[in-house]
């Protein structure tokens, strides 16, 4: 298990997750979606740098989620 901090908008939560938990797992997690209110179309940033969905989130990381801009009119 490891601890991660997830920020979305002005809200954030700290949570214990499985050691193999990836950025993609976080972006797809219904539990995190419900807790923070983000949708399906997101990008995960660490220190402002966008992360690959397959990368395992290191212990103690603060992840900022942003709604990914789409071009729909």
């Amino acid at each position: 298990m490891k601890k991660i901090i997830v920020e979305y908008g002005v809200d954030s939560i700290t949570k214990q997750v499985e050691s193999g938990f990836t950025f993609g797992d976080l972006q797809d997690s219904d539990a995190f979606k419900g807790a923070l209110g983000f949708g399906d179309n997101t990008k995960a940033l660490v220190n402002g740098i966008e992360q690959n969905r397959n990368t395992v989130i290191p212990d103690g990381t603060t992840v900022r989620l942003e709604t990914a801009a789409n071009t729909k009119a």
Binding site: G9, V10, K33, G37, T67, A69, N70
Partner: protein
Amino acid sequence: MEKTEIILRDNGTLTERIIRERDLLAEGEVLDALTAEVTRQQRHVFAIPSWGAAHADVGVTDTLWSVPINRIPLKARFRVINGVLLPMFASLTDLEMPMVWSAPKEVRLVFAVRTTVEDDLVIVGGNWLFALDANHSGYRLPLPNLHDECTLCTGEFADSYDTALAAVSASLEQFNQSKWNADLMRTVAQSQKFFRFRPSNETFTTLPIEAADWTTLCDKVATAILDRVLL
């Protein structure tokens, strides 16, 4: 026609003067080309019930209508975070609420509508939402459904009307009824610092913007449409 004159000056020098004359075709299309960018501005052309006065910037091919507004209808999903009701545009689970955000006096909002006339019908060519500061600089609000140049994505609605009043009124009604979703969403934190409400027993109060300078939460814009906006 060309004419040559030889002039004998007082000091004895001879000077040749050639005069060429031709008629210029300063007719309709030339005048149109010269005045293509010229517009005329007229204030208080008509009043939109429950919104206010509409000002017109009339060009050769179109008219830009400006309606200064003091509120934004926000039909969107919201949740309470730390006692403050905040928009959650991307959420699929939070409660959808028809909130109305009241603009503080330093944020001057303008709803703009561009119309053209075709076959005696007034055609809506686009809707824009601008925020202006005291210096008349324009900003894109931290809202989804707004393109970079502040064009509003209002969804489908009829675009042909008998009068300009009907066209502008219909655009505002569409703005009033539209739901805000996450399309064209930027940073949600900026939205949540800008559009804030305090829930009380029976109503919601718009809270001040959570920034010393509201423009820091917006993107500055400079467009040809903005240049025609009247406040």
